[in-house]
């Protein structure tokens, strides 16, 4: 067997330094990362990166910050759910990780321009959606009405509380939130996120719904949106799969003839509605 170094490869990782790390909930940890040599990640909202620790492995994580927030760094939220993510939870500011990407098709921000937006985020769905929400807020005059519906299991599971509060306080954003299970301090809505949809006032022809949440949520949210007559083309979803390569080869993220890592993770509902095993 001959082994030679390669100049190029799809698998080369860049050095990323953690400049801020913060535990968010029992399961989620926040990381702000900057690339070596002040390189800009140059991502679109909705794209993901492959993050790795040498010797432990690599995993796909969506970028949570908007490219409009800052250029010199980007933010990720990592749920402790496997060997790599557990190891990531042990890292702090100053530690180094490997970064590949960004990968995939993000949200089509140019197509959304001039339209009303209905964001529906369930659970961890807020993580990738936050990137787009902040992008829209930073370019606020380019978009029509902005509605944000947020759902989480309990008030304690809410991520980005401070930021969410700012969205809530904005006059140019219509914000609503609900929890599945309440606690004594909670004064807001209780119930599934689908319960918020009927009450939103929408101009159907010019509304795009952007939905991100756990796999189980999609079916129910989409049904509600269709009831409101939002055209299938105007419902955008981001699908979760466990990509291993990110370059459309390894097969783990395959949905029909699509490779979610390349063709997705963002799809419009009409692109995938008939597709087997997509939702």
């Amino acid at each position: 067997m001959i082994q030679v170094p390669l100049k190029e490869s799809e698998y080369i990782v860049k050095k990323g330094t953690i400049i801020r790390a913060k535990k968010m909930t029992a399961l989620e940890k926040f990381f702000e990362i900057s690339l070596a040599g002040s390189e800009v990640l140059d991502h679109e909202p909705g794209q993901f990166v492959m993050i790795s620790i040498p010797g432990i492995g690599e995993a796909p994580i969506s970028v949570s910050s908007s490219p409009t927030t800052k250029r010199s760094s980007f933010e990720l939220v990592v749920r402790n759910s496997g060997i790599l993510t557990k190891a990531l939870h042990n890292l702090e500011a100053g530690d180094v990780v490997g970064i590949r990407g960004p990968f995939g098709h993000g949200f089509p921000t140019n197509i959304l321009e001039g339209n009303d937006l209905l964001f529906v985020a369930g659970g961890l769905g807020i993580v990738p959606l936050r990137s787009l929400i902040n992008f829209v807020i930073d370019n606020r005059r380019d978009y029509g009405k902005v509605n944000i519906l947020l759902g989480c299991k309990t008030p304690r599971d809410m991520l980005f509380g401070d930021e969410v509060k700012q969205w809530e306080e904005r006059l140019d954003v219509n914000f609503q939130c609900t929890v599945d299970r309440s606690d004594p301090d909670w004064k807001g809505n209780v119930g599934l996120i689908t319960s918020l949809i009927p009450g939103v006032n929408l101009d159907i022809a010019r509304t795009f719904a952007i939905v991100v949440g756990p796999p189980i949520m999609y079916k129910f949210v989409i049904a509600e949106l269709l009831k409101k007559n939002i055209p299938e083309r105007q419902i955008l979803l981001s699908l979760e799969r466990h990509m291993k390569c990110g370059v459309g080869k390894c097969g783990h993220c395959q949905i029909g003839e699509h490779y979610c890592c390349q063709d997705g993770p963002v799809y419009s509902y009409d692109q995938i509605k008939g597709k087997h095993e997509a939702l």
């Binding site: 001959i2 170094p5 390669l6 040498p54």
Partner: protein, 344 residues
């Protein structure tokens, strides 16, 4: 003009011995009653010329079961992408497996290209070998239109009565013929014999399925909710043999291996199978193909449906390996026929 040469049968052993001096030669070797495997050989005697498709297809040389793609040094945070390859000649590749290699080529040269695969494939010389009759009842190479050679080799051997006639397809093939001076130019009689053999072959090899080649895609497109999958799912034990032995299954996993110094190590690519329980599992624990029936369906769709959209080609080569290897007796020909029958 197409170039054909002839090798006398008595010179075959000499040919392999000389070829082995030029480069490592791998060829089908008998492993058991009905089992064969591509292995390194140095003489022609070791080669089983009449063989049933090997346990693993030649894809093992193109995408090794385990391949280092990066080396790392953790303390220095240095990553070096690497390429692993062997300069080898594969002798005796059947037309079904030539088709398999062509499929893999399409996948790995599709953008973003896989440099490791592309460089490695160019280090491999391919010598095909024609089947003059069926290997066994599990093959469906005629249905998949892979029973007659259709490129993808440097040299292609066809066995005639007392000689081999060889199609020289590339410069690499030409070089071998020139360096090993055992070959003579094919004469009209040789070419006529080849012609007759092919005509006879067209009579022996008949579509093994109940469906026309061009209609297969439609059969699968409309079969997502078929009961056939349920029956297959009940039989399947998810051992993953069918995907490992498939010449066009290319799914993989990427893993890290730390050396005992706990600083250096490698990132490796290993074969994976969509039949494994957690292949399509996501972080939250949901699997998009939890049922064995769905995993089998996915495997078939990846042969007869999805690649047609993407590469305009079926990814089943008709080699019959998945049927031969399946302990649960899931038979590709039966599956396809049952789906087509249902559609009628």
């Amino acid at each position: 003009m197409e170039k054909y040469v002839v090798l006398k049968k008595k010179d075959f052993n000499d040919f392999i011995a000389k070829l082995a001096l030029m480069q490592t030669v791998v060829a089908p070797v008998k492993k058991g009653k009905k089992s064969f495997a591509f292995q390194e050989v140095t003489t022609g005697k070791e080669i089983a010329l009449q063989y049933i498709p090997t346990i693993l297809p030649p894809k093992k040389y193109f995408m090794p079961q385990q391949e280092t793609i990066m080396k790392f040094n953790k303390a220095k945070f240095e990553w070096t992408p690497v390429l692993e390859y062997n300069e080898i000649t594969i002798f005796g590749v059947h037309t079904c497996d030539l088709a398999g290699i062509q499929c893999l080529n399409m996948v790995f040269t599709n953008k973003p290209k896989d440099i490791n695969y592309i460089v490695r494939k160019d280090k491999i010389t391919i010598i095909g070998f024609e089947c003059n009759a069926y290997c066994d009842e599990f093959a469906s190479c005629a249905a998949m239109d892979n029973h007659i050679p259709n490129g993808g080799y440097d040299l292609f051997f066809t066995e005639l009565n007392d000689s081999f006639i060889i199609h020289v397809n590339t410069l690499m093939g030409e070089k071998i013929i020139e360096e090993i001076s055992l070959f003579s130019k094919a004469n009209d009689d040789n070419l006529k014999e080849l012609e007759e053999l092919r005509t006879k072959k067209r009579e022996i090899f008949k579509n093994e399925l109940n469906t026309k080649h061009s209609d297969l895609k439609a059969v699968f497109e409309n079969s997502f909710n078929s009961k056939v999958w349920k029956d297959i799912g009940a039989k399947c034990v998810a051992c993953g043999n069918c995907t490992n032995v498939c010449p066009t299954c290319y799914c993989f996993d990427i893993k890290d291996e730390m050396n005992l110094d706990f600083n250096t190590g490698s990132r490796i690519r290993v074969w994976d199978s969509c039949q494994n329980e957690d292949f399509a599992k996501v972080a939250g624990g949901e699997s998009f193909r939890e049922e064995r029936a769905n995993r089998q369906k996915h495997r078939y769709m990846r042969k007869f449906n999805y690649p047609v959209d993407k590469f305009s080609r079926y990814f089943c080569t008709g080699c019959g390996r998945c049927t031969r290897t399946c302990m649960a007796q899931i038979k590709l020909k039966e599956t396809v026929n049952a789906l087509a029958e249902e559609k009628k």
